[in-house]
Symmetry: C2
Subunit: 250 residues, 2 copies
């Protein structure tokens, strides 16, 4: 991982980095008395386009003492497009008009994305946790929910996840959801145009976690109310305890 730029703004350090050819962003408090717990910020791909919303979430988390980081998704932003993914995306857009079933298209779109993205996020985690200012434990926050789901299942360093129920989940991954046991908070936009409400409720039901909370709010995909930022911080504060500052000479 190499840092490519940084800026300081209002007590928050934002650094752009490259992990091989994957671009990423890291936000930390300007001063870190002890290694900060880390929140990985998920998004639907296209970091430049998503920057305002992702950065706002990051700054909200850093204000509460967390570090926050994200990387570009496979095929997102300036990363090379994958022809089969692009085909699936086009098919999915056409499917409602053609009244075609979408399950098979969702499989073609999401499963390869999850298979490629999850090892990249784990590699980013290796690099980020090697920085002295970041200590863990680690949370995942956001969409793509299928990526968060897979990470929650396979990556033991992730202690809690806040998932946005706002994107398609392949049916095969409902079985994976039963194997997730970490604490979850699931956000559902009740009137999300692009999201099947019943599927989201079924997925929430499927998760194996003993502590899981659904927060359903009114409005469409991008209408998550601001108070959910506070609720997210409180969820992570419960599950990502900060390391105690070590005294000098220890």
């Amino acid at each position: 991982m190499r840092f490519t730029s940084q800026r300081l703004d209002d007590g928050i350090r934002e650094r752009a980095f490259a992990l091989g050819d994957i671009p990423g962003l890291l936000w930390t408090p300007e001063t870190t008395p002890a290694p900060a717990p880390l929140i990985l910020l998920g998004h639907p791909g296209g970091l430049h386009r998503m920057y305002p919303r992702v950065a706002a979430r990051a700054r909200h988390a850093v204000a509460e003492g967390f570090a926050a980081a994200t990387i570009e998704l496979p095929g997102g932003g300036d990363r090379p497009r994958c022809p089969t993914t692009e085909q699936a995306r086009a098919d999915l857009l056409r499917a409602p008009a053609a009244e075609e079933p979408v399950d098979e298209i969702v499989d073609r779109l999401v499963l390869p994305l999850v298979d490629q993205a999850v090892p990249e996020w784990r590699a980013a985690l290796d690099a980020l946790l090697s920085l002295p200012e970041i200590g863990g434990p680690v949370g995942y926050s956001g969409g793509v929910i299928a990526i968060g789901l897979r990470l929650a299942r396979v990556e033991p360093r992730i202690a809690a996840a806040l998932l946005f129920a706002g994107s398609f989940v392949p049916r095969a991954m409902f079985e994976e959801a039963r194997q997730v046991t970490i604490p979850l908070q699931v956000l559902l936009q009740w009137d999300d145009e692009g999201n099947d409400r019943q599927m989201a409720l079924d997925l929430f039901d499927a998760f194996g976690s003993q502590e899981k909370t659904l927060h359903a709010n009114m409005g469409g995909h991008t209408g998550v109310p601001p108070f959910e930022g506070d609720a997210a911080n409180r969820f992570f504060a419960r599950h990502l305890p900060r390391a105690q500052p070590t005294g000098r000479g220890h």
Copy 2:
């Protein structure tokens, strides 16, 4: 309203009162620099039996600067039983085994209770708001959800409600729910034995409020996780702003 006893414990004043022949409880901070916003605490009836849970919710709210109050329900505790309600309650207990439809029994059980209880809560509100240490605005928190629903619809002094989706709601009241417009937070216990999950989701959908949030948690009827106490306080802190302390001589 006349106070019948009081005790002070850990900075919180708990007073028992009688409103006519209806017993009630009021919790306030020991000292109130300004009139406190009030939270009415709903419960299923039987204040003595419910005391530990209601008092815990009250103390949690008072610790954040709210006043909290509750009254006994019609037919609850030492109040006279109503024969038709008792009959409906008995019928409801028998209904699952007999595979009888419960809608008509729920109507007989809940509608008269709501019709009798709501004017009593409004009378309690008149009395409580006349105390100098209580200022409003007012929130309603808890079950019986049908009582909270009716209060939210008819009582303009109630500015926000946190409702427990844990008891039966007559179908006729779904139409009333569409007329509720105040901010709502609805708690749903996902595995509540005595509660129909789909009915709770339908009721949440029916409320007319622009700001409404569903918090669904794992576990049965009495298993609401402790962190929902904090979430409740934050919800009410957003919607029940405290009056500014008035300076001397004003």
